[in-house]
């Protein structure tokens, strides 16, 4: 098992290398002069030129990329153009907020979606099924930022139960953002759970189990559930990527002080190193979460576990 984890981590390296190269390349295409951004529009051309030399901005792409990577592996994410503080510090300060939001949303999503999907499958074509699937359909069709706005409108503005924005009120601040972000995922996971459950119930081995005389509810819990969770786990994994993107928007709506919000602010300020830093953190997080999902997958399906040894 440990060997497998190490192998996967090692395999991550070329991918992350590619990612950094890709992002560096994209951001490098940005028009505008970083030196000018730092010194301001009014600065003298000589100062700008001098700063460019000092920052090594005139070097070829490969050299600059190499220099960035060299710093990166030492944990140095560069320096913000705006604040002239290390990007790493800014990101590190905000990372916990994003993690809290992401974890809470995921928990909300999974805890609601699994029972919803399972019961909807068991009671297929009943009112419960229809309503829960309709809600799920709405959930995947509603943009997360609109959901956020509506929640703010109802619960903050009209009812005043929760703060409109920010993270200062502890748990209370966390509620609306988590619900907004989690709802979208709950919907997707519920749908997959339901269809996967329906598929599983139709399998031959369920018929065999029924022929053994097992009562219906035991069939669900002892046999159908575990098998149905296999494709569901895959979807949860796929959803993570969407959720990371959604978290950026959610943080924007709720002014949640996380990495996403920082990234948007950096974009608006043309602060390239900060943007780069944020994206790299997101990419690494994404990759690690996928690895985790794969491990969970292996726990559920013994056929996969065998490959992991």
């Amino acid at each position: 098992m440990i060997k497998f984890i190490v192998k996967r981590l090692v395999a991550l390296i070329p991918v992350l290398l590619g990612v950094t190269l890709l992002v560096f390349f994209i951001l490098d295409l940005a028009p505008g002069d970083p030196a000018k951004t730092i010194l301001g529009e009014q600065a003298r051309p000589e100062d700008i030129a001098a700063l460019r030399e000092e920052m090594g901005l005139n070097d070829p792409f490969i050299v600059r990329y190499g220099r960035y990577m060299f710093d990166l592996v030492q944990g140095d994410l560069g320096t913000s153009y705006k604040t002239r503080d290390p990007v790493g510090e800014e990101v590190w300060a905000r990372l916990p907020n994003t993690i809290v939001l992401a974890l809470t949303s995921t928990a909300v999503a999974i805890l609601l979606a699994l029972p919803l999907g399972i019961i909807a499958a068991i009671k297929q074509n009943t009112l419960f099924d229809g309503i829960s699937m309709f809600i799920s359909l709405l959930g995947i069709s509603m943009p997360v930022f609109w959901m956020g706005l509506l929640l703010i409108l109802l619960f903050s503005v009209k009812l005043g139960w929760f703060p409109v924005a920010g993270a200062d009120q502890g748990i209370k601040s966390l509620v609306l953002p988590s619900v907004a972000l989690g709802f979208m995922h709950m919907a997707a996971i519920a749908r997959t759970t339901r269809s996967s459950m329906l598929e599983t119930i139709r399998q031959d081995y369920i018929r065999t189990v029924r022929a053994k005389g097992l009562p219906e509810h035991d069939i669900i819990t002892d046999h159908a559930l575990r098998n149905a969770l296999i494709p569901t786990t895959t979807v949860i994994g796929l959803q993570i990527g969407q959720m990371l993107g959604g978290s950026v928007l959610t943080e924007s709506v709720f002014a949640w002080p996380g990495i996403g919000r920082y990234m948007i602010q950096s974009i608006q300020g043309r602060d390239i190193p900060s943007v780069m830093g944020c994206i790299i953190v997101f990419a690494i997080g994404f990759a690690l979460i996928n690895l985790l999902v794969d491990l969970i997958y292996g726990f559920i399906d013994p056929r996969i576990k065998a490959q992991y040894r």
Partner: protein, 337 residues
């Protein structure tokens, strides 16, 4: 003619009508099916795909998927008890214990995420006294019985070959010593050599436990190997029934003749293959008279409009065909093998 002798019947089906009600129409799966399985004996249920063989097997367990399947009328008795009036709980007590079923495809019959000994132990724990430890012990014994080392019990289905998976399924079915074992084409998905092994093993187990068996198959070779009596099923009805000798040596129904003629003749390699012309009738749109009429070489006018009744040749052998009546039944009208 044969009702006077009180038979000890493990299973008895009378006049069973089963329909599948779908969006596309109503499918008549079984149309007045009659079946008797005597204790300790093996009945072969022979017919083509789509004749209703699996449906018959499932109905003995009351496992016909509902929706869309509906048992419209008729009676099914196991050990003299009517199972159609039983509650779900009572049925669950019977399944796996009184009657067990082996399905056709071993590759998909086992839960992929549970070890094989767990799956066998499950049925034991359900119906027998004792806890997990005893059940596992007994499960391993069953594995040994079917020729699989008990030490392999902790492995998962995907680690076994098709033939071994089928043995696990058989072990699981026999674990609680059922009175009736229904085997739905148990060897069709297996290689011929494995087929022979599995059949031998089933015969041995049958001897040991005096299990009654319903062997559902389309393979007449298997029928000859393992069955005592044969019911030939066509379009949801038994159209001929008798002992091995009755059916093989005194074939009466044109369909049965067709089945035998479809087999290559080892003695006369030059002879042409004689397939039965046409296809099974559409079960949602059965012909008015005899269901076999459109394909029958011996069809007469009456066959198109009237369903034939039963004519008995002796205590064990009957046929449903207009060709026959009390008087001419003793001379066959069709060629027998």
């Amino acid at each position: 003619m044969s009702e006077d002798i009180k038979k000890d019947l493990t299973a008895e089906i009378r006049d069973l009508v089963v329909e599948f009600r779908t969006d596309y129409g109503v499918v008549q799966a079984l149309n007045g099916l009659e079946l008797e399985i005597e204790r300790g004996k093996t009945l072969g249920l022979v017919g083509e795909t789509g004749a209703g063989k699996t449906t018959t097997g499932l109905s003995l367990l009351r496992l016909i998927p509902n929706p869309p399947g509906v048992i419209v009328s008729g009676s099914i008795k196991l050990d003299g008890k009517d199972i159609l009036s039983m509650s779900d709980k009572e049925m669950q007590a019977i399944r796996g214990k009184t009657v067990a079923m082996i399905f056709q495809d071993p590759m998909t019959s086992l839960d992929p995420v549970m070890t094989v000994e767990q799956q066998i132990a499950e049925v034991i724990k359900l119906h027998e006294e004792g806890g997990q430890a005893e059940a596992l012990k007994r499960a391993r014994e069953m594995l040994e019985l079917v020729g699989i080392p008990g030490s392999r019990g902790g492995e998962y289905p995907h680690q076994f070959s098709g033939g071994m998976k089928q043995r696990v399924v058989i072990a699981m079915a026999l674990a609680c010593n059922p009175e009736l074992l229904i085997a739905d084409e148990p060897t069709t998905a297996l290689d011929v050599t494995i087929q022979a092994q599995v059949l031998e093993m089933m015969k041995g187990l049958r001897e040991k436990y005096n299990t009654s068996m319903l062997m559902i198959t389309h393979d007449l070779g298997i029928v000859a190997e393992i069955c005592d009596k044969v019911s030939v099923i066509y379009a949801g009805r038994v159209i001929e029934h008798g002992t091995l000798e009755d059916i093989f040596k005194n074939t009466r129904h044109p369909y049965t003749e067709g089945l035998f003629n479809s087999l290559p003749n080892l003695e006369d390699r030059q002879a042409e293959l004689k397939p039965i012309k046409g296809l099974m009738p559409d079960p949602s749109n059965l012909p008015k008279g005899c269901a076999f009429c459109p394909r029958c070489d011996y069809a007469m006018d009456i066959c198109e409009t009237q369903k034939p009744g039963r004519t008995y040749r002796n205590d064990t052998h009957y046929v449903e065909c207009h060709l026959y009546n009390k008087d001419n039944i003793h001379e066959g009208k069709v060629k027998s093998r």
